[in-house]
Symmetry: C2
Subunit: 388 residues, 2 copies
């Protein structure tokens, strides 16, 4: 059976060339980059070069502004908890949104519950957008940090981050954005955006698992989250994951070189999917905006049926998809993102996310458009909620 992977929002295959670039770091240039001997220095050269590749992808001013981490979650923890702890003498109020990834929400909840911070969770509109007036209205005397994601991982909504950074700067609020779904998939310029911190993860754009980075603008203070050795300018203890870092560097270079065609390719397939689903399946609800969304993200609610049942049926047809975030799959609670944009519990349970990647083709989309309507109809016919 043909297998079609449409869960690139959860993770992507590592590009074979990225793996090839990583291999010497496992078995030949295996030194610890903190060691002063030649094995260590070879590894350090590789790490430094990868740091420049990350820097260039997001147009940071200097490679020193890139802090390597074990992934997007750690980058978000370092940004949110690290900046909160570093800023707590100035104030203990933080602004975020209701539809952030749990890697931002849970650090915020930890700060509230264990460390007496106050967090404002901004609402979003029906498309998933945070409004600048809400953002400005939430800034208080003691606000030290705001964290609003660039693009939502479930419904793909892009946020007007630039508007927020202008307002944040005026009020001396450190601004972080979780760009895990954006980095490597859309053009990014941290200087143009005006963000103080930005999180990214290699495995979301065909790099390896287990490695990511935090952009930390020079002058912005954070406490380490991983306490240990003096690595990463004393901001992140732990021996460097040199093969992973080299893989991240490779895929940043690749993303830079292929960005325009990637965006075009994903957007074409995305729009084909969205239009095809709306044409072929009655009573569908597109979640997130039609255009200002991630180029590879398609997210629908199908009334009367369960998302899990759709997934299992798609899987039987060789199609890998998700109902929302992989990080919470298995949980029975409805998505906080779908509740955040006003969907009922019932509707939220009938969601499907299809996320495209660089390997997907028009034939993949056509196959989904052939198979999915039958599945939805079959499930609806079995549903007690459906009377047509």
């Amino acid at each position: 059976m043909k297998r079609i992977y449409l869960d690139n929002g959860a993770t992507t295959p590592t590009h074979p060339e990225a793996l090839k670039a990583m291999e010497p770091l496992f078995t030949q240039k295996y030194g610890n980059p903190s060691s002063i001997h030649s094995f260590g220095q070879e590894a350090k050269v590789a790490v430094d070069s990868a740091r420049e590749d990350v820097q260039k992808l997001i147009n940071a001013r200097s490679p020193e502004e890139i802090i390597f981490t074990s992934g997007g979650t750690e980058a978000n923890n370092l940004a949110v908890i690290g900046a909160a702890m570093a800023g707590k003498k100035r104030g203990k109020h933080i602004i975020t949104s209701k539809i952030e990834h749990h890697a931002v929400l849970h650090p915020c909840e930890y700060l509230e519950k264990e460390l007496d911070f106050q967090v404002t969770y901004l609402p979003v509109d029906e498309k998933g957008r945070v409004h600048i007036d809400d953002f400005k209205g939430a800034i208080k005397e003691d606000t030290i940090l705001a964290s609003i994601m660039m693009a939502n991982n479930e419904i793909g909504t892009l946020q007007p981050v630039k508007e927020f950074t202008v307002a944040a700067r005026e009020s001396d609020v450190v601004f972080h954005t979780d760009a895990v779904q954006v980095a490597g998939t859309m053009p990014l310029d941290v200087q143009e955006l005006g963000v103080d911190m930005l999180s990214m993860s290699a495995h979301k754009f065909n790099g390896p698992n287990g490695v990511g980075a935090l952009y930390l603008r020079k002058g912005v203070k954070v406490h380490p989250h991983m306490h240990g050795g003096g690595q990463e300018n004393k901001l992140r203890g732990s021996t460097h994951n040199t093969p992973g870092i080299v893989g991240l560097g490779w895929v940043c270079r690749y993303a830079r070189e292929t960005m325009d065609e990637k965006v075009k390719h994903l957007e074409e397939l995305r729009d084909m999917l969205i239009e095809g689903i709306e044409e072929r399946i009655p009573e569908t609800i597109l979640n997130g905006p039609r255009r200002e969304r991630l180029p590879g993200n398609v997210h629908f609610c199908f009334p009367y049926i369960e998302g899990e049942a759709i997934l299992l049926n798609l899987d039987l047809k060789g199609i890998a998809a998700s109902s929302g975030s992989a990080c919470t799959s298995g949980s029975l609670a409805p998505s906080h993102v779908l509740l955040g944009i006003g969907r009922s519990h019932e509707l939220a349970h009938g969601s499907l996310r299809l996320t495209l990647g660089i390997d997907n083709t028009q034939e993949d989309v056509e196959y989904v458009l052939q198979v999915l309507p039958e599945i939805v109809q079959k499930l609806r016919d079995m549903s007690p909620l459906y009377n047509k």
Copy 2:
């Protein structure tokens, strides 16, 4: 020039077979193990199987007691900060030793400075051993956690962990041990040891960088350190590093199968090195015990000269060594471990660590024994402190 790697305490080459086992996870079985489709389930099977391999290496009761992390530092942070936060209502006193790795000391300092915990840093004797009487004497009404390393990463001293766990259990103190230098290199049995938590790291025993594990005895409570998705039984958010985890699993299996010969091989080379150095170089000071030390660890102070100068000269001869921990190299401060065992600042600056690995041979040792005495003598002849 022949190159000899004698810095296996800092990091080791990844075994080519471990890399081979990892490769399909990058490019074929690349699903997110949290996803319910077949790609995800393939990855989950691989992660589950690796978890059993780790379990077996350390004789944990169940695979659920293994929490995958990004390495030893994260395992230590999760253990120390996680157990402190989970236990803080019972008390806020922690016991550790003066010669722990910074991945334990810095979390302790963070807890003291930012979260009002009190930490007792136990002294060690001249060989680097913590004494059970000191340990017992430090336990107070409000002691909730103790963390004493199994083996010191610089001078190789093995601690009588079993004595500590008995005392800790009597007083209801959670006991953690940093076994990063031991796991995969010496036999380990967490049930026999009686530890509640134990940290390990793949790259210290020929597994990949960027992955490790915390053994967490069933029933022991910790708060997550990485706040995010519900992975690892809600104790560690972040997408699984599946290739890394599979590499860790492979090397745990390999270590189990080859443990006896590995220990024998390392101890033979170690003792050859120690005896050879003492025979050929006058005025040497062996740090750590002669026998109850890590099988691959050799650590000397050479009076009158600088450790860095020895390293650079060894490197010119193709030999990779270190003066102590790689995590703090570049720092000018003398090693806290050497100060802890009573060495003067001056002596502490003249240290050399040679750490053996599975690839080292008798010829490697002979070459070092030929080259090192000349280097030490040359440097001493140049030293104003040396008058012979």
